[in-house]
Amino acid sequence: MKTSIKFLDLELKNPIIAASGTFGFGEEYAEYYDIEKLGGISYKGLTLEPRDGNEGIRVWETPAGMMNSVGLENPGVDAFASEIWPRIQDRNLISVVNVGGSTLETYLEAIRRLEGCDYDILELNISCPNVKAGGMAFGTEAKSAELITKAVRANTRKRLMVKLSPNVGNIGEIAKACESGGADAISLINTVQAMAIDTKSRHIVFNNTYAGLSGPAIRPIALRMVHQTAKATKLPIVGMGGITNADEVIQFLMAGASAVQIGTAFFTNPDQIFQIPAELERWMEREGVKALEEIIGIV
């Protein structure tokens, strides 16, 4: 396929991956769409134990974005491995399994229990702003990012991609730390930590005080951070943050990403996302681009 792209030793039929937390385990959207039109899916973030998620309001719209405070509601790694994975494993898609945790040990145990599932990429979530179990504490310091990456590397044979938080001072340093810890790839950005106040009730909207901002509002920030990461490390990058169409995918590739993830846009206009591969192909024909690799990091 013309839009196919090499990522590590894998070939994605196109660079579009559904972002973790926005696409469940793919089964809901599969009722309405041909989800195999995508290049891959990063499944809902898993933790060692099942989680009910956060109390109170979980979503709040903003100009060109939304905040969420789901809090990693998920069935846990055991239910995923025994019940969910067998149902979804045969898809013609690159499968990314996203794992979060609160301590090093919960990360490692979760990852060990998933080792028997034949998935393609482990996405190590050290960037969820909504819960302690999201591990953002690991992702905001280079030293701890390297430490956890190294420990996970020693405990899995899977391709290891670390998902980074934008809520840091120097993203390049964090990415380099993951590289020296043994990561195979980097994905970024997770949501931007944000807040809302209801002036009528004089209360903070979210029970958890802060929430994660996503959508087009954060896209220029994401693009900048992908660019900085690409300058700092040789690792392949999956870029994300507010992407909604083919032109924006191309921007992320030009900034240095080898593939992208799309999340919030599925809530806005899912039809448009499933048309991006065809749009990309038209753009390539128009521009005389033979392979998408030609444009990665060209700016």
Binding site: E28, G53, R58, V59
Partner: protein, 244 residues
């Protein structure tokens, strides 16, 4: 563009009360009573569609009643006949099929899905009574009267006052959560099953994003996918208001 059949056109739009809009849209889809669509009639902003339940459905035409409460509903309210509108859905489960005499208790905009439900039950030859509460002003009075065997309105008071549920085989309710909680309790006392339609902020509408989680007796449920209709006892139990 859209899921096959997701594009509709406005066939009729009119204000039927203070900031209350009755919208009729063409569709190739067929909703069940109690289901909803994500409505969208704009490009970029607001970000999300607006989940609105079905007021009525007739071959190729789906009707909605909504209140203007923000930017999204404001844009919807300003649509003109023949304008395009995107309808993602129908989503959700809808009210169950239950034999016998059914009581429907609604409040405010929660009355809207009960119209489609009553009409459907009546068409199947079931006895169905509507008890509808309105804060100040009844909207679409004639439609509600036609939809049921017997329709009674309460304006400004409590729609649950004086209800005798022992005459019914089941009760369906939609409206403010305290009202639904009262209905569930009355149904429990009368020994009949109750079903509630829950309203939550939503994003995806299909059960993927988990922002509309509803706590139930048997764990977290997705309001958009497992609901919006739940057994009353699943949501309101032990006299404890479980909805956040």
């Amino acid at each position: 563009m859209g899921v096959e059949g997701s594009e509709g056109r406005v066939l009729s739009i009119r204000e039927v009360g203070e900031e209350i809009v009755h919208l009729i849209v063409s569709t190739e889809t067929t909703p069940k009573p109690g289901q909803f669509y994500m409505l969208r009639a704009w490009q970029e902003a607001p970000l999300l569609g607006r989940p609105i339940s079905v007021f009525d459905y007739n071959e190729g035409k789906v009707e909605f009643v909504f209140k203007v409460v923000g930017k999204g509903t404001e844009i919807l309210a300003q649509l003109k006949v023949n304008d395009e509108i995107q309808l993602q859905g129908p989503y959700g489960n809808g009210f169950p099929a239950i034999e016998g005499k059914i009581l429907l208790v609604g409040g405010g905009l929660g009355n809207a899905p009960l119209h489609a439900t009553a009409k459907n039950l009546k068409a199947q030859g079931q006895a169905v009574d509507l008890r509808l509460g309105f804060a100040e002003q009844i909207f679409l009075e004639e439609e509600f009267v036609q939809a049921a065997t017997d329709t009674q309105f309460v304006v400004g008071g409590l729609v649950t006052d004086g209800l005798d549920m022992t005459k019914y085989d089941a009760v369906f309710t939609c409206g403010p959560h305290p009202m639904m909680e009262a209905v569930v309790k009355m149904a429990r006392d009368a020994g009949i099953p109750s079903y509630v339609s829950i309203e939550k902020r939503m994003a995806c509408g299909v059960g993927a994003c988990l922002v509309c989680t509803c706590k139930t007796k048997s764990g977290n449920k997705k309001t958009c996918k497992d609901g919006p209709v739940f057994e009353g006892e699943e949501v309101f139990y032990e006299d404890k208001h479980q909805i956040s």
